[in-house]
Amino acid sequence: MTFKKTLGFASVLALTAGLAHADSTVRFWYHFDNADNPMDELVAAFEEANPGIKIEAENIPWNSYYDQLYTAIIGGSAPDAAMVKMFAQPRLVEMGALEPIGERIDAWEGKDGLQDNLLELTRAADGQAYYLPVQYVVLYLYYRPDMFEELGLSVPQTCDEFRDVARALTRDTNGDGQINVYGFGFRGAGGGHDHWGSFTLGREGVSLTEGLTSEAGIAGTQFVADLFREDGVFPPSTPNDGFQEIIGTFKAGRTAMTIHHIGSANGMVEALGDNVSATVVPECGGGRWTAFGDESTAILSSAEDKDAAWKWISFLSSEGNNALFNEATGQLPVVKADTESWSLHPQRFVQATVDSLPFAELLPNVPETSDFVNTVWATAMQRVLIGDITAEQMNTQISDLFAN
């Protein structure tokens, strides 16, 4: 009897342990524009390989992603793991919301398979590693080869050439007396700092933290203002235009050039076929600057089962899974093997990305960058575009933000 009791007790214990193990759940937040994404497929594959872990993946709308993440952290309902960008890292570190994963990365068999330098780029200011890269892009210049050919124009290599071709491309093509094609689709609303950066931050001695109020820095912002106010080469709706608008008008043939990354390439080809190509952003004032668009995953320090969370995020950055992940986002895999077999984008866009890499930069890894990205840049740029403040005032405002 005693033996039976002991056996029964042991069985209950074993069962309880098994149940506890099976109950390990990883809540994961991500943001995909595309509702038809392969997350379910990835989750199913992961859960099959890791029977004890359940993944609850939640797609959060991009326009409020960080607002929701920060407030969830403060409110005590943060996910266990999340997709994250570099600009948010300093704030998340300051909030104590991230789990250091350097040791886990070092012990991980997939580490050597990652693209060179990505782990360095995503390292925090305190020297720790909190992010595991999952995809990346580099911004380049989209243009309409057919329109350039029709007008006998060459693809611009410098800001001066850019201005000339943008002027020539801005025209009335259907003879109704109204301009219906504009030279460039500029993103005046949130997220457009990358456009402005390409015209401003490549200039000699200019960066977000240095030289922005110098003659060269102000000339960059003035260049953008003049393109809109003097030359009229941006559509009139520019101050409010966001991602949807710049991509939509380019696809519709209302603009002849714009700046974005490979994430939109397949949609462009679907709409325009061979009448769309890409090149590096123009050289302005002695240098080029383009944005390195990062996306990583991280474990939140509040995660209940950090081992399970690590298994999940490292799964997403492993060969094969990373390719599947990037098929949905249209960005580029961080795994070398997946890049080699990558055939999801026409070669000209992959080439433009690779050509842009040498001068691609991340935004400064400081807490102020979030404010710059979320509010300060867009409001100041819009005020310059509508003539409310001068280019110098805008640059001073940004300079002051980073100086504080």
Binding site: D67, Y70, T71, I74, R91, L92, E94, M95, Q178, G188, A189, G190, P235, P236, S237, T238, P239, N240, D241, T249, A252, R254, P367, S370, D371, N374, T375, A378, T379, Q382, R383, L385, I386, D388, I389
Partner: protein, 303 residues
């Protein structure tokens, strides 16, 4: 009056009778305290602190610093100006449109129930849907507003309604007027139907013109409803920022910033809850006059 005739005074009641009403009311009072007053007090408390959400450990008492900063903030005054314009234009426009609609709907005509149902639609739609719909209407490339105006020859080239600081606020005011006028229409229609038809018959017999009937019978009959509706709507409109947020996000520049929107941007986007709370508190104090007028009115109605 003898002592025996005097009504029961409270001290004569048994203790349980005295306690009972309070005991029965207390759950409701406690819930109200928890969900209304606690957040209010918390907002005021936060406004007295330097409280930036991503620095949760630096919660320092700074007294009135946030309020002083707000009063010296150019954007605060711009937002206040826009809030006043926004309220002064939207509410009379909604009232006028609602009054005309209610008077029309109060007439006998075929399909009247259908017309009444249709008028309610803008009110029934979620604000975000309305905002997105009007963004499309105003679009300078494909929008129907420009298309119509170009075709009838009123404008020579497409106007970027929401991207132009001179037109953006007016464009949003028009959207909110469209969304809110059914509220007035329904309220006033209910008021109109409570006026006895015999008043009009008597006035007609006395030879009163339609205008005099409106001035002396209709308007007094619905004045109570109008005052209540205006007070209610003023508070709602003042605090509503969802339509602006979706349509322009407060831009271009500060062209469509209003105080509630500015408080929201400061708190939610910049995570500066101290400053955001100070703006919200200042705005609440300004609205207090309207709130008090409304409370006085409801208290009178209850009596």
């Amino acid at each position: 009056m003898t002592q025996a005739d005097a009504p029961d005074t409270p001290h004569r009641r048994p203790l349980s009778r005295i306690v009972l009403p309070y005991a029965m009311l207390s759950p409701a009072v406690l819930v109200t305290l928890a969900i209304v007053f606690f957040p209010m007090v918390q907002t005021v408390w936060m406004s007295l602190h330097d409280y930036v959400l991503f620095r949760p450990n630096d919660f320092n008492f700074v007294g009135l610093k946030n309020f002083r900063a707000a009063l010296n903030d150019e954007v605060f005054w711009i937002s206040l100006r826009h809030t006043i314009i926004w309220m002064a234009a939207t509410i009379p426009a909604q009232l006028l449109l609602g009054l005309v609609t209610a008077l029309l709907l109060n007439q006998q005509f075929p399909w009247r129930p259908v017309a009444r149902a249709l008028v309610i639609i803008p009110w029934a739609l979620p604000s975000v849907v309305i905002a997105l719909m009007w963004v499309w209407i105003y679009d300078s490339n494909y929008g129907i507003a420009n298309e119509l105006l170009l075709r009838v020859g009123l404008i020579q080239r497409a106007i970027p309604w929401l991207a132009n600081p001179d037109t953006a606020l007016a464009a949003i005011i028009l959207t909110l007027t469209w969304q809110g006028f059914p509220f007035f229409a329904v309220m006033i229609l209910a008021g109109l139907q409570s006026i006895p038809g015999s008043y009009y018959e008597a006035a007609s017999i006395d030879g009163a013109s339609a205008w005099r009937q409106f001035w002396h019978i209709t308007l007094p009959g619905i004045s109570g409803v109008i005052v209540t509706a205006v007070l209610l709507r003023t508070i709602w409109v003042a605090n509503s920022f969802d339509v602006i947020f979706v349509m322009t996000g407060g831009g271009p520049g500060y062209a469509t910033h209003t105080l509630p929107l500015y408080a929201f941007i400061k708190a939610r986007t910049n995570l500066d809850f101290g400053y955001g709370s100070a703006i919200a508190t200042l705005f609440t104090l300004m609205l207090m006059v309207i709130v008090l007028l409304y409370l006085r009115r409801t208290a009178k109605a209850v009596q």
